[in-house]
C-alpha cells in the first residue's frame, strides 16, 4: 500500500494546524489566507521546486455530515493538506524543495504543530514523512518523465507545429535549409534550452 509505484511519485501530506489564534484570527485562517495570497503560475513558489508537475494546498477544516442515519463526526484539529505529483524519489524532492523554497515552506507550514522543530532540509524531510499518508490507488494518465524533458518536449511541439504550418509548399532546397535553421534554433536534444519555464502560462 506504500508509495512503491513507478514514477511519477504521489505525495499526500496532512499537517495538523495549531488550535488557537494570534489575537485576531485563527491559525487555520492565517494559513488559508497566506496560501490564497501566493502568486500563481511561474511566480508560484512551487515553480522553484524542481520536478513538481502538479500540486495543491488547502486547509481541511472538517469532514462532512452525510445526513441521517449517519453519525456526526468533527475533526479536533484543522489540517494543512499538500498533495503533489513529482518526478524522482521523496528524499531528493523534499531536499530540493527546502533548498529552493525554504522561506516559502516556512511561511506555509509555520502555524502547523511541531513545525518549529524544522530548521534544515533533513528535519523538513523528517517532518513531512511524519505527516505523509499512504496512497491507496494511484492513476498516472500522463507521464513521469523528469520535468525538464516534459517542458522541452512541449516547447518543441509548439515550435515544430508552427514550423510545419509556415513551411508548406517550399522547394526541396528551401525546406532543407529552413529545417537546418529550425534545428539550430530549437536545439531539440538540449534540455537546458531553449525551453518552457516551469509554470509558464504565456507564449
Amino acid at each position: 500500500m506504500a508509495n512503491l509505484i513507478s514514477e511519477p511519485t504521489p505525495l499526500t501530506v496532512l499537517s495538523p494546524i495549531k488550535n488557537g489564534d494570534d489575537g485576531s484570527q485563527t491559525f487555520a485562517s492565517l494559513t488559508r489566507k497566506y496560501l490564497q495570497s501566493l502568486d500563481i503560475h511561474e511566480k508560484s513558489p512551487m515553480a522553484k521546486v524542481p520536478n513538481t508537475f502538479l500540486c495543491r494546498f488547502f486547509v481541511l477544516n472538517d469532514v462532512f455530515f452525510e445526513g441521517s442515519p449517519g453519525k456526526v463526526d468533527h475533526l479536533k484539529s484543522k489540517y494543512l493538506v499538500f498533495c503533489c505529483n513529482f518526478h524522482g524519489d521523496l528524499n531528493t524532492y523534499l531536499r530540493e524543495f527546502w533548498q529552493n523554497a525554504q522561506q516559502e515552506a516556512q511561511k506555509i507550514w509555520r502555524h502547523c504543530v511541531a513545525f518549529e522543530q524544522v530548521h534544515d532540509a533533513e528535519s523538513f524531510i523528517d517532518y513531512i514523512k511524519k505527516c505523509e499518508l499512504n496512497t491507496t490507488i494511484y492513476f498516472n494518465g500522463s507521464t513521469g518523465l523528469p520535468l525538464d524533458e516534459q517542458l522541452k518536449a512541449l516547447y518543441l511541439k509548439q515550435e515544430f507545429s508552427q514550423f510545419a504550418c509556415e513551411k508548406q509548399g517550399l522547394s526541396a532546397e528551401a525546406l532543407f535549409e529552413a529545417f537546418q535553421e529550425f534545428v539550430e534554433r530549437t536545439r531539440p536534444a538540449d534540455l537546458t534550452g531553449p525551453t518552457w519555464k516551469p509554470g509558464q502560462n504565456t507564449l
Binding site: 499526500t12 502538479l54 499518508l133 518543441l156
Partner: protein, 228 residues
C-alpha cells in the same frame, strides 16, 4: 482560492466510509493491484486525466505530532480523492458517469450514502456536497493538456530520430522523408493556446486578493492593530 491552474482542474473529495469497509477496501485494492495487476479501474479510457489518487485514512492515521494535539475520535474512516484533469467540473463528472460507472462504483460503493454513479443527478450532488476547494493550485505546464504532454513526448522522440536519419540526405530525399514524417506524426502536431478560462481564473484570483486586502484595511487601525 482556485481549483483552476491553466488547463487543469483540481478536484478534492472527502467521503466517510464505515471502518470495517475501509479495511475491506484496502484489502480489495491491494488484491486488485498486486494479484490481478489491475490498477486503473477503467480510468485509462479518460485521456483528460493527468493524475488521480485515492487515499483511505483511518481515524488513528490522522497525523498527531504532539501530546498537546487532541487525538482524533471519529466514527468513520475517510476516503480522499484527488484528481488533476482538463476541462470543466461537469465534463469530468459526466465522463466518469458515462464512461466508467462500474469502475467508479467499485471504488466508492462502500462509502456511506454513496448514491452510485447512475443516475447522474444524485451523483452530482454527492460530489458537490463532499468537495473541498483548493487554496493554492500549481501546474508546471498550464498551457498544456494531458494529451498535449503525451503528444509532445512522442513528437520529440520522433523528431530526434528523424534528425539523425536525415543527416546525410540530399534536399530532394529530405523533402520526401519530411513529408512522410509529417504524415506519420500528424496526430502529435498542433499548436497550444491559453484557454479563455485561464485568463478569467487569473483575473478572479487577482481581484480576490485585492478584495481581501481592502477588507482587512477596514478592520485595522493605522498601526495595523485589529479595529474590532
Amino acid at each position: 482560492m482556485s481549483n483552476i491552474a491553466g488547463k487543469s482542474y483540481a478536484m478534492t473529495v472527502i467521503t466517510p466510509i464505515p471502518k470495517i469497509w475501509a479495511w475491506v477496501n484496502l484489502l480489495k485494492f491491494w488484491y486488485s493491484k498486486n494479484i490481478r495487476k489491475k490498477k486503473s479501474f477503467g480510468l485509462q479510457t479518460l485521456s483528460l486525466i493527468h493524475y488521480a489518487r485515492w487515499v483511505i485514512i483511518r481515524p488513528s492515521q490522522f497525523p498527531r505530532l504532539s501530546s498537546n494535539q487532541p487525538k482524533e475520535d471519529l466514527h468513520y474512516a475517510y476516503m480522499l480523492f484527488f484528481s488533476n484533469f482538463n476541462g470543466s467540473w461537469s465534463q469530468y463528472v459526466d465522463s466518469f458517469h458515462m464512461a466508467i460507472p462500474k469502475g467508479l462504483d467499485r471504488i466508492w460503493k462502500h462509502n456511506f450514502k454513496y448514491p452510485k454513479s447512475v443516475p447522474l443527478q444524485p451523483f452530482h450532488r454527492y460530489i458537490l456536497h463532499n468537495q473541498i476547494w483548493t487554496d493554492h493550485y500549481y501546474n508546471a505546464y498550464p498551457l498544456a493538456s494531458s494529451n498535449d504532454v503525451k503528444a509532445a513526448i512522442a513528437l520529440r522522440a520522433a523528431l530526434l530520430e528523424f534528425i539523425k536519419q536525415s543527416e546525410n540526405m540530399s534536399p530532394e530525399e529530405f523533402q520526401k522523408a519530411y513529408k512522410a514524417f509529417l504524415f506519420y506524426n500528424q496526430q502529435h502536431i498542433a499548436k497550444m493556446h491559453s484557454a479563455p478560462v485561464i485568463n478569467l481564473a487569473d483575473q478572479a484570483k487577482v481581484e480576490r486578493v485585492r478584495l481581501i486586502e481592502s477588507y482587512e484595511k477596514t478592520l485595522r487601525d493605522e498601526h495595523g492593530k485589529p479595529n474590532f
